[in-house]
């Protein structure tokens, strides 16, 4: 099982000091957080993609390429790559390039994005969001698998005799996850291709996440990729830890109370009761995270949101120390218990390469 972190890349004032980091500080902080993730033994770093303030990561492969050069083992991913407003040709090229530079330590999570004006800024219509995701990915899927593509669709200029370069590393396309909070069409899309399905899981009650994952698993089996239990599932999580849970609550509350997305809404206590957010000791984080398996089944990837709401870099790095030293080692051991042998790990470049060699022999 893979463990990692995902970042939204928001530039948010620290509510305890009123200070807002500069964009440069925030970008460098994201890099420092990624390097720390590798240092403490995590497997994955994923960055969001946004094209409006207060977010900085508009150019994920630039950032991930830089991180790739400074890491050895970390898998570089996204959370998410906008399959709706980006040109699928450019996604194909950017991530193949990143694959080569990172020696295959790359996968990508497709998402639609939920900011209305971003669509028209890129010449698209948000009402076509699902259709854009379907058609653009269908093209991307071919660009990574066919050397010469002739293509015509509804949303993009036709292609005649087009070759996306560079070709994927070892002719193995990056593994793809599809992220969606509430669109069954996207679970269906992930299942159809046998790709992974990621549920953000952090702002909504677990029973909703459970239903989306059950749908994906059922359809994954329907399309003949394996049993429902073998489908490739990823989940988000959100935690704030201190050795003593009271210290965690006291320190995190001012950030929670005004945080983007859920601030000025339900209390910290209500929100932790109703959603996967955990604020407490490492042991409480372990228990809550292990409980995800009760509704999601045995799954492949757990990403935590750690750097948001104006938390200072120093605090985030301390959180990552706790995550890497006290939480993840226990989670690896506990999640491995009673895990059926035929439930696969998340695909990586080397596993996909090995799998292809087996099937072609």
């Amino acid at each position: 099982m893979q463990f990692g972190i995902f970042s939204v890349g928001d530039v948010t004032p620290d509510p305890t000091t009123g200070r807002t980091p500069t964009e440069r500080e925030r970008i460098k902080a994201m890099v420092a957080i990624a390097l720390k993730a590798e240092e403490v033994g995590l497997d994955v770093f994923a960055t969001g993609e946004h094209h409006n303030p207060p977010f900085v990561p508009s150019s994920p492969t630039t950032m991930l390429g830089y991180i790739a050069a400074r890491t050895e083992k970390l898998i570089l991913s996204t959370s998410t790559t906008l399959i709706t407003t980006n040109d699928p040709v450019k996604i194909a090229e950017d991530f193949a390039m990143l694959q080569h530079l990172a020696d295959g330590r790359v996968d990508v999570m497709m998402g639609r994005g939920n900011t209305g004006p971003v669509y028209p800024w890129f010449g698209k219509d948000i009402r076509e969001g699902i259709n854009l995701a379907i058609e653009n990915y269908a093209l991307l899927h071919r660009l990574w698998r066919e050397d010469v593509v002739n293509w015509e669709g509804k949303f993009r200029t036709p292609l005649q005799g087009f070759t996306s370069t560079p070709r994927p590393l070892d002719d193995v396309p990056p593994f793809v996850w599809h992220g969606s909070i509430r669109s069954p069409e996207i679970a269906e899309q992930a299942a159809y291709y046998g790709d992974g399905f990621f549920h953000n899981n952090i702002f909504w009650p677990a029973d909703h996440t459970k239903r989306m994952i059950e749908l994906y698993r059922a359809r994954y089996a329907h399309y003949g990729h394996g049993t429902p239990e073998q489908a490739i599932v990823g989940l988000g999580g959100q935690v704030f830890m201190r050795k003593n849970s009271q210290d965690a609550v006291r320190e995190f509350r001012p950030y929670f109370d005004v945080a983007p997305v859920y601030g000025n809404g339900p209390s910290l206590e209500e929100f932790t009761r109703q959603t996967p957010l955990t604020v407490g000791s490492p042991q409480q984080v372990i228990e809550k995270t292990l409980s995800f398996r009760d509704y999601a089944g045995d799954y492949q990837r757990q990403l935590f949101l750690m750097d948001h709401a104006g938390l200072p870099l120093k605090t985030v790095l301390e959180q990552l120390d706790l995550l890497g030293e006290e939480v993840v080692p226990v989670l690896r051991k506990e999640f491995a218990k009673d895990r059926p042998a035929d439930v696969p790990d998340a695909p990586t470049h080397s596993s996909l390469l090995a799998g292809r060699e087996v099937t072609t022999v």
């Binding site: 259709n131 379907i134 669709g153 269906e188 899309q189 702002f203 239903r211 359809r219 859920y262 209500e270």
Partner: protein, 225 residues
């Protein structure tokens, strides 16, 4: 026949709730204590949080399920600023965001209370368009009760008439859809007859049986090109 009352009354006791209970008793023949009344007052904070957090707290979710699952609805609001109250509208806003089909095809009796009879047309210019938008089947007679109506015989007659219409519509639509709780097959509405969605598996977009297969989604794009 299950009828649920949604009351946006704010005081305790509330004449808005009282009007809802009388309408329910007349429609179902049940004692007021046997009718489920959802007091939005008790859910006001949860409703506000639903706007900011995007999901309903457990008590609000349960109320939404009750409304979605009811055979018929009686909705009653006090008049504020010449319209329904903000709390009343907010409940149906978050309900519609959660499930845009929640009220589709459902018989709804609209009612309102006010301090003066001059606002009686609020039923026609505010409530009826709202529930038409939500694709409910709105009962022809709405009931407005001003303070002075509580000492007047005319209110009884209007309650009886509206309640009778609600009972008839609820019975007719239940029979047409083959009873409550699911019924006709899943997937897209074929058009024509009134689509009755009652919270069972048929209207559930997260049920694997209701998924539009991927090939169909892709093919629809190609033919649209």
């Amino acid at each position: 026949m299950s009828v649920v009352v949604v009351s946006a009354g704010l005081s305790v006791p509330s004449s808005t709730r009282l009007l809802g209970e009388r309408l329910a008793a007349a429609a179902t023949g049940q004692a007021p204590s046997d009718v489920r009344v959802i007091e939005l007052r008790d859910l006001a904070v949860d409703i506000a949080h639903n706007f900011t957090s995007g999901f309903p707290a457990p008590a609000l979710a349960e109320a939404m399920d009750a409304v979605t699952g009811a055979d018929g609805l009686i909705v009653v609001t006090p008049v504020f600023s010449a319209s329904y109250s903000g709390l009343f509208k907010s409940f149906f806003d978050v309900l519609g965001v959660r499930d845009r089909e929640a009220l589709a095809g459902k018989p709804v009796l609209i009612a309102a209370t006010g301090g003066t009879p001059r606002h009686s047309l609020v039923l026609e210019h505010a409530l009826r368009p709202l529930f038409a938008h939500l694709r409910a089947v709105v009962v022809p007679t709405g009931v407005y009760a001003a303070s002075q109506d509580w000492g007047d015989k005319g209110l009884d007659a209007r309650i009886e008439r509206a309640a009778g219409e609600l009972a008839a519509l609820t019975g007719a639509l239940s029979a047409a859809s083959g009873g409550t709780g699911g019924g006709t097959g899943g997937g897209a509405d074929g058009g024509g007859a009134i689509s009755v969605t009652r919270g069972g598996a048929a209207g559930d977009k997260f049920d694997a049986r209701n998924v539009v297969p991927f090939e169909e989604q892709l093919a629809a794009l190609r033919s649209a090109g």
